[in-house]
Amino acid sequence: MTNEGALERVIRFVMVAVARVSAALLVVGLGWWLARPETVGALQTLEAGILLLMVVPLLRVLQSAARAVRLQDWLHVGTIAAVAALLAMTLLYASLL
């Protein structure tokens, strides 16, 4: 088992932090929405929580890329680049809707 590099550790830290902030926003937003369903702020908080959650898999891809580059595993780098390109296409298509 190869040790984790510094960049991977940083990305993992950010990934865990983003997931936790997302969960906290969902808890706060849901509680707020249940108390005052008509409040715009509650829905905005929920929206922020859901969007942050969707960022987590992207960070996972980034972390894998950092690991593959450190290990000079170029086949792995290539597959990760292909996955990243497909995710970029998804975001582009979604932004056009």
């Binding site: 859901i50 898999p57 996955v83 497909l86 932004s95």
Partner: protein, 273 residues
Amino acid sequence: MSPEIIAVIVCAGAVAGCLGGLLGIGGGVFLVPFLHLVIGLPLNVARGIGLVTVIGTSSVVAADATSRPLVNLRLGMLLQVPASAGALAAAIVVARLPDRVLYVLFALVTFVIAVIMLTRLEKRNVLFDDAAAPGSFGGRYFEAESGREIVYQTHRLPLAAVVSLVAGYVSGTLGIGGGIMQVPAINAWCGVPLRAAAATSAVVIGITAAASAPIYYARGDVLLPAAAAAVLGVLIGSRFGLWFGGRAKARWLKMLMALILAAVSVSFLVRAL
């Protein structure tokens, strides 16, 4: 949407997350039928929420250190290329498919996977030679159940790539984790032990879901309060599923998965007729 319904969705999310974490399939396959058939949400909304919860389950597994030796990220990312392509294609075309077609597709997919799991109850797919080489896409990990190091090699990778493409398409179409197809397929046909297949799948299905979830979100198919309730339930349940998954016997995991899939298949078939 009443507080009672929100509470029910949190509980359903917890159950789905537990099963998802346990079996590495994301939980969407249980939650989407529940949200649509029991809560009465439109199928497109249930699918959008299902995808978001798959990302939630996957995030928990990816952050959990105990599952790392089981995760074969090299194999997972390789299969993620066709899976993401399938999910993206599905999210683009799914709005044009009628619900009845989706019901039949759901019933068919879950039934086939249930049969595959039941026919593979005794198959272990492992090499008990510690010195054996796992090859480029194989792996090794310590298994508490047998008390020894497990080494496995992968076979039929082109077949796994085709299954992953279909799994990604099914994921994007039905709003479920692609693991429902990937886990049995790479276990049964590619020689990856069930626990390693489930752990690997649980990490990468979040990426598959991320290839279609933003499109559902942009279409307005993610109902925020219901999605938040489902995700919070899933985050709680998947931690328990992950803990239990390391202790349960593989045979029982396969039987549980097959039974649940058969029940889901029947419920959608009834709905389609």
